[in-house]
Amino acid sequence: MWTFTFRRLLLLIPTLIGITLITFAVTRSIPTDPVAATIGEQAAEHPEIVAVYRAKWGLDEPLPVQYLTYLRNLVRGDFGDSIYTHRPVAADLADYLPATIELATVAIIISILISLPLGVLAARFRGGPFDGLVRTVTTIGVSMPIFWLALVAINIFYFHLHLVPGQGRLDSGLAPPPTVTGLYTIDGLIAGDFGLVANALYHLALPAFVLATWSIGLITRVTRASMLAVLGQDFLRTARSKGAREPYVLVHHAVENAILPVITVMGLAFGDLLAGSVMTETIFGWPGIGRYAYSAASHADFPAVMGVTLVVAISYTIVNLAVDLAYALIDPRIRAAMS
């Protein structure tokens, strides 16, 4: 198991180099001139001003040299300076990324807690009214546009029912806890400020639920399909022949065998939540990486775009690694194939 983990970590190196190459190439092939975008059209008409900026950013060097410089800076934790915010991209990411991670994590936890039982039970009572209900609701969940759902949710729960707070990660009077992880819930726990943790969760609840609707639909459907495949397996009949009753068969034999494909989808869904929450973040005023990416892209802020892309790609890779490790942990056949 340790060898496997180590080898998979080694494999991260070429993956990361590939990711940086692609982000670098894509950003440099965009026709927008970053200098013009930064200094404005009037200043861009003065070649000497442009030349100063080009030299400052190393844009005059040959591309491979630019790439190597970029890579060397990355290793030092230097993602460059944002053209738009005029701050180091790394500092921006440190501000915005934890908000997104916190939101996505709470959303995926909600999805898993809801989807797994729904999917398992829908498969168990296949064709019945419960199954029909689950299938209908999950179809709606998967097909509902998230911005519409977010607006409806805000309208109902905030304006009418006053059940949830307004925008932001905390009530406006509260100061964030001392930064350790950047996740307010965790940092609040570390600081021992449980009121603050509760407030952070209060603010997380609605956006996380809205964000989770899509993955709830997806994971429920995959769980149901995977369970249906397992429910026909011979070893469940074996378990019954030993004197096991249905709930035992389901819990002790069926679910663990159905979980592998579900884990893959959970990983993909979590990656998507990390990368694709622009809409939710905008509507809920959530200061996350989605909004940051959106503003970076609209201002041709290429160091920021590259930084976000890199961070998202790395997150995907890490989630993938976690999925692979989970596979090996659950399935002895995969462990055997690796040793």
Binding site: F4, R7, L10, L11, Q233, D234, F235, R237, T238, A239, R240, S241, K242, G243, A244, R245, E246, Y248, H253, E256, N257, I330, D331, P332, R333, A336, A337, M338
Partner: protein, 676 residues
Amino acid sequence: MSAPLLEIEDLRISVATDTGSRPIVRGLGLRVSAGEVLGIVGESGSGKSMTALAIPALLPPGASFAGGSIRFHGEELTRAGPRRLAEIRGLGIGMIFQNPMTSFNPLKRVGAQVAEPLLLHGKADRRTARARVEDIFRQVSIPDPAARARAYPNEFSGGMLQRAMIATALVNSPELVIADEPTTALDVTVQAQVLDLLGRLNRETGAAMIFISHDLAVVSRICDRVAVMYAGRIVEQGPVRAILDRPRHPYSRALIAAMPAANAAANARLQTIGGEPPDFGALPSGCPFHPRCPLASERCRVEDPPLVADSEGRAVACWHADAVPPVGTGPVAATAAPSDVSATAAEPILRVSDLVRHFRLPAALPFGRRREVHALDGVSVTLARGDTLGIAGETGCGKSTLARCILRLVDTDSGSIQFMGEDITGIAGRSLRAVRRHIQPIFQNPYAALNPRARIEDIIAEPLRAFRLPAVEIDRRIDAVLDMVGMSPRHRKRLPHEFSGGQRQRISIARAIALRPALVVADEPIASLDVSIQAQIINLFTDLRREIGFSMIFISHDLRVIRHFCSHVAVMFLGQVVEHGPAAEVCARPRHPYTAALLSAVPELDKADGKPVILAGEPPSPLAPPSGCRFRTRCFRATERCAEFVPPLVRDAGGRATACFYPLETPAPLAAVPAS
């Protein structure tokens, strides 16, 4: 006579189909007394497995109980609720299923799964269960019980896992064990081990057993009584010996006659049952066997005969039971078979020399170690023109790889294949295509071998079109070959799914012979067919060879069939030929211990009393073959020499070759000539 342990009366089971509910078990009655072993034999669709599963109420979805009574210890099981059934399952009744590889949860340790019946029935706590599992592992001869209990199913071989399955069924000492085709998924030598084990456990524990099988010979090895099922009913039942010696139902008689017997003349026609097992959706009127029965009369077409018991403890459901002729005589006379033209002089049509093929497995991980499967390690065989060469061996011995190498479907690492005097080992392109015209394959699974979307005429025409035969000729040949394989040319426009397994295999054969090949390579062509259909296909091969005269390579795990059908045999073990020679001689007087064990392991009707040679241990892995002689780890004659040196395949003057330092029957001077 004591009260029976299990009593089934008028059992009816229906299966839901697209066109409504169809009966698959139609009024079945049987009794099992304490300690007794009852065999239930029948072809696919006869309802034997449904009967077995109905007893502990484990029918699959779609099948449902439709009437009758099942009493276990006098208790009516068909009316028991889920709670009561769960109390009986695994405690009073233990189950053994067909495929051990799929019958275990792949994610749980085997020991934990074997212990489940103990824990579920409160017979042990976790700690005492562990000790009990190790005990039962010892009883079913699983070596190193403590370590094996901690292993996962994927770390077990099929045979070992079936022992663990048996251990699971027996761990609570049930009074009745139901075994549904428990050895069908296993290799013959492993099957012999498991049958031996089941017989011993029956004597030791006194548990009664219901043993379901399609193979009458397997049943005859272990059972006291046998019930023969046909179309959802028992057609004959009684003591095993009595039924084998003097069957009273035409169907039981035909099943016995269809098996190639040890003493029958080689290549004689097998007695077959005409037609196909009935489709349970559309049973014939009257006796369901009447369309296939040589004795059928008007009464059989109208009235279904009841199962009538006689004074000797036998029962038969046939209007003409007294007219059933003894086995060995009968309406189908043994016709003279084509004698092989070869004998000695003929130029070999195929000469395979020193063929090596290793498959490198993809590494499980980047930078991981890549392992090699030694599929073929220096295989040499020859086939004379007009002969049939049987290739026998168990799973993983390389027999299918050899077939694919000869067909040039996979490449070889080294060695040579000469076909009609030409080296075809490395040829490609145009010259390979030219050779393909003369070598045609037939595969095991007729369901997978035919394109489900292609019409029969297109399937047969494909090779003909590939070689640009004129359209008129193609058209003529499609009718001709369909006729030859016993199918009507009217079937030309149909799709494969409209045919049964046996008919599909006939279509595959028609496709193979359409080009009039010189050599047909058949890889387990009858293994997935019912017993009565197997005999039909073997007879078809015999007839076709007489009419068209192709040479044939016939791959099979079943030495009974090879002995019957083939002029020569090569026995393979772990990528090597261990014995090669005329089939009749090799099977009558095997020299290699493995051949002897294989022959002895094959269940036969007429040697049910003989004590089989049972090989110890497990087949070694082709990933890491043993040093020296590869068979030595399972051999009862192995010495240190066998571990140190590889025995060469030594050919004698009579055309027999053996790769063993200690052959069983030393023939006249052993010529130390290496095999070609």
